[in-house]
């Protein structure tokens, strides 16, 4: 089975995000960028399928600026076989990404596309679902466990009421949640090998997809500052404040 893993380059999870003073976006100059953490889990899952003999070719795909090559190299160092960069300076929206991925699926013919459930920069949580709809494939979203039996996938999803288990036929789109696995580190020998693995660069035009933005950003603002906590001197005062100020008990 061929597996495609789309990955996004985002501001590192541990970086303190700063909003630009003109409100046009967030500061990205000299900021540490890394692979979207959910995508690391997707890459790890693909590698585990390969290690279990259930996948043979893992293609990592990224859409964005030239620097996304670094992120792809990380996926290659983890264990992906080859990489494709769709290079563009245009900000990428979920629908545009889903269309590009659809075109790449047509080209590469994978049976499985594994994505992160969302990217931590825009938190859209849309790309996987849109891709499944465009392809007309089955989808298993927010999965926390995966069992592959021939052409049948059994996935466990974390839903509000507990765990839901679904069976889907391949080809399918999967989006992964945090508890699916613990991604491995890139080993230094593999980082060196990754430098020699194939990385192809395409443009949206090559794929015949129009990715002009459909959304307009009006303004980006800091979330309201969290109020400092207070100390209460007695349980009675605490209860009083919970009842009369916070109004969380009656």
């Amino acid at each position: 089975m061929k597996v495609m893993v789309p990955i996004k380059r985002v501001i590192d999870y541990n970086v303190n995000i700063r909003v630009k003073t003109d409100g046009s976006g967030v500061e990205t100059a000299n900021v540490k960028m890394s692979m979207n953490p959910f995508d690391e889990i997707a890459v790890e899952q693909a590698i585990r399928l390969k290690e279990a003999g259930q996948a043979e070719d893992i293609i990592a795909v990224s859409i964005g600026v030239a620097k996304c090559q670094e992120t792809l190299r990380t996926a290659l160092a983890m264990g992906a076989d080859r990489a494709i960069l769709v290079q563009t300076e245009t900000p990428t929206e979920p629908l545009a990404v889903a269309k590009l991925l659809k075109a790449l699926v047509a080209q590469e013919q994978p049976q499985l596309v594994i994505l992160g459930k969302q990217a931590i920069d825009d938190d859209c949580n849309q790309t996987g679902q849109m891709l499944a709809a465009l392809l007309g494939w089955a989808q298993g979203t927010f999965i926390s466990a995966l069992n592959l039996d021939g052409q049948t996938l059994e996935v466990t999803r974390e839903v509000d009421g507990g765990l839901e288990t679904l069976r889907l036929p391949a080809p399918a789109v999967l989006t992964v949640d945090l508890r699916l696995n613990q991604p491995r580190y890139a080993s230094l020998p593999n980082i060196m090998k990754a430098k020699r693995k194939p990385l192809t660069t395409l443009t949206p035009d090559d794929l015949g997809v129009d990715i002009s933005p459909r959304l307009t950003t009006l303004k980006v603002a800091e979330p309201p500052q969290r109020q400092a906590g207070i100390k209460v001197s007695s349980v009675a005062e605490l209860v009083d404040k919970l009842r009369n100020e916070a109004k969380v008990i009656s």
Partner: protein, 480 residues
């Protein structure tokens, strides 16, 4: 409860060597006129000792001064009453420096915890001694600056305690010890006199620099009541490698190769069993292979160049068989998770009440020393688990001997003390130190003479006499 009362009683009877004449009820009469005080059993056991477990917590009370004037008043009062005072910071010390086992009055700085001034031109912060190390680091980071002294106890230790121990930590190889970052110090001496030392100056060629006497004095010369610390530019995109090194003899070859070509901000060693304890706590295991020794290396990687250099070095060392595997952080989260392998060792093994050595030798002597120490420890501790970890790039190694569950604590401590005597002799042959960064306190007092000559110790005593003639400040710490 009964146990604690008994402990207190013992504390009061065993005071003969220390100039203590007060006991709890009188404390409560006198101290409140100066500053808040506590004498309840819970507080006595909490504030009576640091992370070292060898000595009991038996203070008479805990004073919580809020101003410099109150500290001065406490010292005057203690001089009149011949009352021993124990300065107390975050009590993360590992040598018993902040331990009060003899009915002393603990002086806690936790209420003097204000940051007083930030000067972006001087790149400095002036603060009270009770500011938590991490609070200081975060305060600097929020302003685009960096306070580089850093170690696992950062969330509890205080800047006053860091100064009093001249704390080191994980970035010493690049930034040096606490001493390098203190440009001003206010201290209240054992005579109750306030000294305002160096006042934030970078240059001040006016004779003896007393500031440096108080840095690392473990609370025996004066109370640190205010400090000006210097800041620097934050490191750009630190990258962490962990390497698997099979042979002890190769550890320093790896060090030399990396240090010659990269500006390192950390070079740390830990053994396979350290890794096992930390992984058992849920920290992700980085390797498929296992190895006897692991090295953690950190450097800045704002451009590709440092990582390319590191990969070349790794390739050469791999060919030579000096390393067998390695991993690199690809994100901040991974960098932090790799650091946990090293930083969580102390906490992961705390349940075994480890007996700790914190030793240093000149960096060039590390390998021959480690081989000799390895022989000594495997001969003397055949049945105990021994952990080796530390800031090996500074010539500093921590040795933790885990107490077997069935063994009585004091018997264990006695056996370890006997081995430490031999270790201290070995250190003397290598021009090493019996305490690299944790201080002498109580735990290393018996071995001081292996590192410091008799003449030197005489000068130390004379200095103590100058600043604390009645011996009220942390008596019995460092030397008797």
């Amino acid at each position: 409860m009964a146990l604690i009362v008994l402990v207190l009683a013992v504390g009061i009877f065993s005071l003969s060597r220390y100039p203590l004449t007060m006991h709890t009820p009188q404390l409560e009469q006198h101290i409140p006129a100066i500053c808040p005080v506590r004498t309840d059993p819970d507080s006595l056991s909490v504030y009576g000792r640091d992370w070292s477990t060898l000595y009991p917590a038996r203070p008479s009370g805990i004073a919580f001064p809020e101003t410099i004037e109150q500290v001065i008043a406490l010292v005057h009062w203690a001089n009149q009453q011949q009352m021993a005072l124990v300065p107390s910071g975050g009590r993360t010390g590992l040598s018993g420096g902040a331990t009060a086992s003899q009915g002393e009055l603990v002086v806690s700085f936790e209420r003097m915890n204000q940051i007083l001034n930030f000067d972006p031109v001087a790149a400095s912060i002036t603060c009270q001694p009770g500011v938590i190390t991490q609070t200081l680091q975060d305060y600097a980071a929020e302003r685009g600056w960096y306070y580089p002294v850093d170690f696992a106890a950062r969330g509890s230790s205080q800047i006053g305690g860091n100064i009093a121990t001249n704390a080191g930590g994980i970035n010493v190889i690049r930034y040096g010890l606490t001493r390098n970052w203190i440009s001003g110090l206010k201290v209240v001496t054992g005579r109750g006199e306030l000294l305002d030392l160096n006042k934030g100056l970078i240059k001040n060629a006016t004779g003896y620099d007393l500031r440096h006497l108080f840095i690392g004095s473990e609370g025996t010369l004066g109370f640190i009541v205010e400090a000006t610390v210097q800041l620097t530019r934050p490191p750009q995109q630190p990258r962490v490698l962990v390497l698997a090194v099979p042979e002890l003899a190769d550890v320093m070859a790896v060090f030399t190769a990396f240090r010659q070509h990269l500006e390192l901000s950390a070079f740390e060693l830990f053994t396979a069993n350290c890794m096992r304890h930390v992984v058992a706590r849920g920290v992700p295991q980085p390797f498929a292979v296992s190895s006897d020794y692991y090295l953690l290396i950190e450097f800045e990687s704002a451009s590709d160049e440092p990582m390319d250099t590191a990969l070349q070095l790794f390739e050469q060392l791999l060919e030579q068989g000096k390393v067998i595997d390695g991993v690199a952080s690809e994100s901040e989260a991974q960098a932090q998770a790799l650091w946990q392998l090293r930083e969580d060792i102390t906490e992961a093994t705390a349940v075994y009440q480890p007996y700790k050595n914190d030793i240093a030798v000149p960096v060039g002597q590390i390998v021959p020393f480690l081989q000799a120490a390895n022989d000594l420890l495997s001969r003397e501790y055949p049945d105990y688990e021994v952990l080796w970890f530390g800031h090996i790039g500074d010539g500093n190694l921590h040795i933790g001997v885990l107490k077997p569950a069935e063994l009585d604590s004091s018997e264990f401590a006695q056996r370890c003390a006997a081995v430490t005597e031999q270790l201290a002799q070995l250190l003397a042959q290598f021009n090493g130190s019996i305490s690299a960064e944790h201080g002498v306190g109580l735990t290393k007092k018996a071995y001081l003479s292996y590192t410091r000559s008799a003449t030197e110790i005489n000068y130390l005593r004379t200095l103590k006499q100058v600043f604390d003639p009645n011996g009220i400040l942390n008596p019995g710490k460092i030397f008797d």
